[in-house]
Every structure is written in structure tokens, then in C-alpha cells.
């Protein structure tokens, strides 16, 4: 409830906000390096805010992490600690001290991009015949590879589709796998490569 109000206020002030519900997800999101600031509640389920911060610092995460707590926060590693209850205006005054971090684009030479796309086309063919033979283990290994690599080569949609398929896969009944696999390949082919 409070998080929602806070998010609304921050968005009204022009910030883009992503809210996650525990320290585990906070670590995963932070590692995307898409955020200028992390506001971290100290008391959270699964992984508390201090442990999440410490894990990120251990991994070399060097962007601002701000603690939010009703208690005094003494652990080193936070850039700032905000005392709860929070007033948006006070928070805003603190946030202006932190500058936006310019994003660094990935250098993707076009030869490399095209070489990868040709490789992906080959994989789709291979996936087609694996699906035909119902070799699902090998099929999903390739899907996993696509998920991990495609987005680095300007094919984020393919990664996303592969991720969707992977997360649904265990719940798809055996007799529907072929159909689902065909749908995946259709979607992939619909994302015109080049």
C-alpha cells in the first residue's frame, strides 16, 4: 500500500519506477544495471535489505543504494539511510543529490550481428526437426541458449519468447508440446531477422 503511494509520487515527479517485493528480486533486478538508484527497504522477506545490499557490493555493484528503515541503519555499504516513516518531499530532496548514470551501449559490429542472425536461423531449422522428432531435451537446450544469447545481438524479442516458453514448459502436457513448440517457432520467424 505504502509502496504504491510512493511509486505514484515518484512517477508523478518524473522518475521511472520498478517495484519488487523482496531482496532476492532486488539483487536480480540490480544486476541488470538499469537503475540509477535503489531504494531498499531493510526489512523484507526471502532476503532482507542489508543482505541484498551486501551481496550486490560483494559483486562490485557500485551504484547508489539507499536504505529505508524505521531503525537506525549502521551497516556500511548504503549511500544513505532514510528514516521511516517516509515523506516523499524529504526523499525527493535527497534523490536530487544522486545523478542519473548515462547508459553505455553495447558495441555490436554489424558483421557479428548478421553472423549471429544466420546462426539463429540455423537454430530455428534445427528446432523444427527436433520438435518433429519430439527430442524435447535437446530442443529445450537450444531454447535456453537462445534465451541467453539473442538479446545481446539485438534480438531481445527472441530472448523473451524463449524465456516465456521455458517458464511454461514444465506445465505443458506432453501431447500439447508439439503444438506449443510450433507456435514458438512461428513467433520467432515472425520477428524478421536483419
Amino acid at each position: 500500500m505504502l509502496a504504491q503511494l510512493f511509486q505514484l509520487q515518484a512517477e508523478t515527479a518524473g522518475h521511472q519506477v520498478v517495484w519488487v517485493e523482496n531482496g532476492d528480486l532486488a539483487v536480480q533486478h540490480a544486476l541488470s544495471y538499469q537503475f540509477d538508484i535503489i531504494l531498499m527497504d531493510v526489512q523484507m522477506p526471502v532476503l532482507d535489505g542489508v543482505s541484498a545490499m551486501q551481496m550486490l557490493r560483494t559483486l562490485g555493484y557500485d551504484r547508489p543504494i539507499i536504505a529505508m528503515s524505521a531503525e537506525q541503519v549502521t551497516e556500511p555499504g548504503f549511500d544513505l539511510a532514510l528514516k521511516k516513516p517516509l515523506q516523499w518531499q524529504n526523499v525527493q530532496q535527497q534523490l536530487v543529490k544522486f545523478k542519473a548514470i548515462p547508459a553505455i551501449a553495447l558495441e555490436l559490429p554489424s558483421e557479428l550481428k548478421h553472423a549471429y542472425q544466420a546462426h539463429a536461423q540455423q537454430l530455428f531449422l534445427q528446432l523444427g526437426s527436433l520438435a518433429e522428432q519430439q527430442e524435447w531435451e535437446e530442443f529445450m537446450t537450444i531454447v535456453h541458449q537462445l534465451k541467453g544469447s539473442a538479446a545481446s545481438f539485438d534480438l531481445a524479442i527472441i530472448s523473451e519468447l524463449a524465456h516465456q516458453l521455458q517458464s511454461e514448459w514444465h506445465s505443458i502436457p506432453a501431447e500439447q508440446r508439439k503444438q506449443r513448440a510450433a507456435y514458438f517457432l512461428e513467433q520467432c520467424k515472425a520477428c524478421k531477422l536483419k
Binding site: 544495471y33 532476503l47 562490485g60 548514470i101 555490436l108 544469447s149 538479446a151 545481438f153
Partner: protein, 152 residues
């Protein structure tokens, strides 16, 4: 002292089963070394496409930095990580994975990984790792860091 010290090239080992990923990583490392203000930027590159070739390359080269994919065709990068840290405890190993589950991250840290990159690669993720390497390498005990500095 700073003026006439020649720095020997440090070594980076890139381990990923996909050739394109290694090329992409290498391209971007080179780009960041030339564009960004980094202290250590003279590296030579070595590559491996699976666990067994990675083990061989590692023991031959004893690299300062490794980018190590967790999902390898003939084994887990997490197992390799342990072997690398046994051979060269001060090696800076960056785990790379499409899966950033807390288990993966925790196991990596526990086995001595210095950092963790979640695929897809971005410039920001790679740069953060290189900055961390600068800090890490500065802090290494002198007897380890010194052989890299040779007077001409």
C-alpha cells in the same frame, strides 16, 4: 616511479560455448578499455568453448581475469570456478549466466566468484566489472601484483 614502469599484459580468459558471445564480449572489452578511464587496460585474450578446453587454457595461462559462462555443454561453470580458484586463488572470476537466481549468485560468491553478469550483455554490466577489477587488483598483496611491473 609511474613514469617508466612497463606493464606486462594481463590475461583474460573468455569461456562460453557460443563463439558469437565470446566475440561480442571481446569486442566490448576492447572498446571499454579504449574509451573508459580504467587503470588496467592492457590485456591479451584467450578463449575456450567448453569446460575441458577452459581447464587446459587456464592452467597454461593462469589468467588474471576470467569471464565464465555457467551453462557449458560438458559441465557447470560453477565447478570450473572452484578448480580455477584452487589453482590461482587471486584470480578475478566473473560468472556469466542467463539465470540470475539467488542460488546461482550465492553459490558463485561462496565458491569465490568476484562478480556476476546476467545475460544479455550490456556496456554497463561489463564496465561495472572492469571498474571492480581495478579496485580489486589495487588491493592485491604486493608480492602478487609486482611481477606484472617490469622496469624497462
Amino acid at each position: 616511479m609511474q613514469t617508466k614502469v612497463k606493464v606486462r599484459e594481463q590475461k583474460i580468459l573468455l569461456v562460453d560455448d557460443l563463439d558469437y558471445n565470446r566475440q561480442l564480449l571481446r569486442n566490448n572489452l576492447t572498446a571499454l578499455f579504449s574509451k573508459e578511464k580504467l587503470k588496467y587496460k592492457a590485456f591479451s585474450y584467450f578463449q575456450a568453448h567448453n569446460s575441458s578446453s577452459a581447464l587446459l587454457a587456464f592452467s597454461q595461462q593462469l589468467p588474471e581475469m576470467v569471464f565464465l559462462d555457467i551453462e557449458l555443454p560438458d559441465g557447470s561453470g560453477l565447478e570450473l570456478l572452484k578448480r580455477f580458484k584452487e589453482q590461482k586463488p587471486d584470480c578475478f572470476v566473473v560468472m556469466v549466466s542467463g539465470v540470475s537466481t539467488l542460488d546461482n549468485v550465492k553459490t558463485s560468491i561462496a565458491s569465490g566468484a568476484a562478480s556476476f553478469i546476467v545475460k544479455p550483455f550490456t556496456g554497463d554490466k561489463i564496465l561495472a566489472v572492469l571498474k571492480q577489477f581495478d579496485r580489486y587488483y589495487d588491493k592485491l598483496p604486493k608480492q602478487v601484483a609486482e611481477p606484472l611491473l617490469q622496469k624497462p
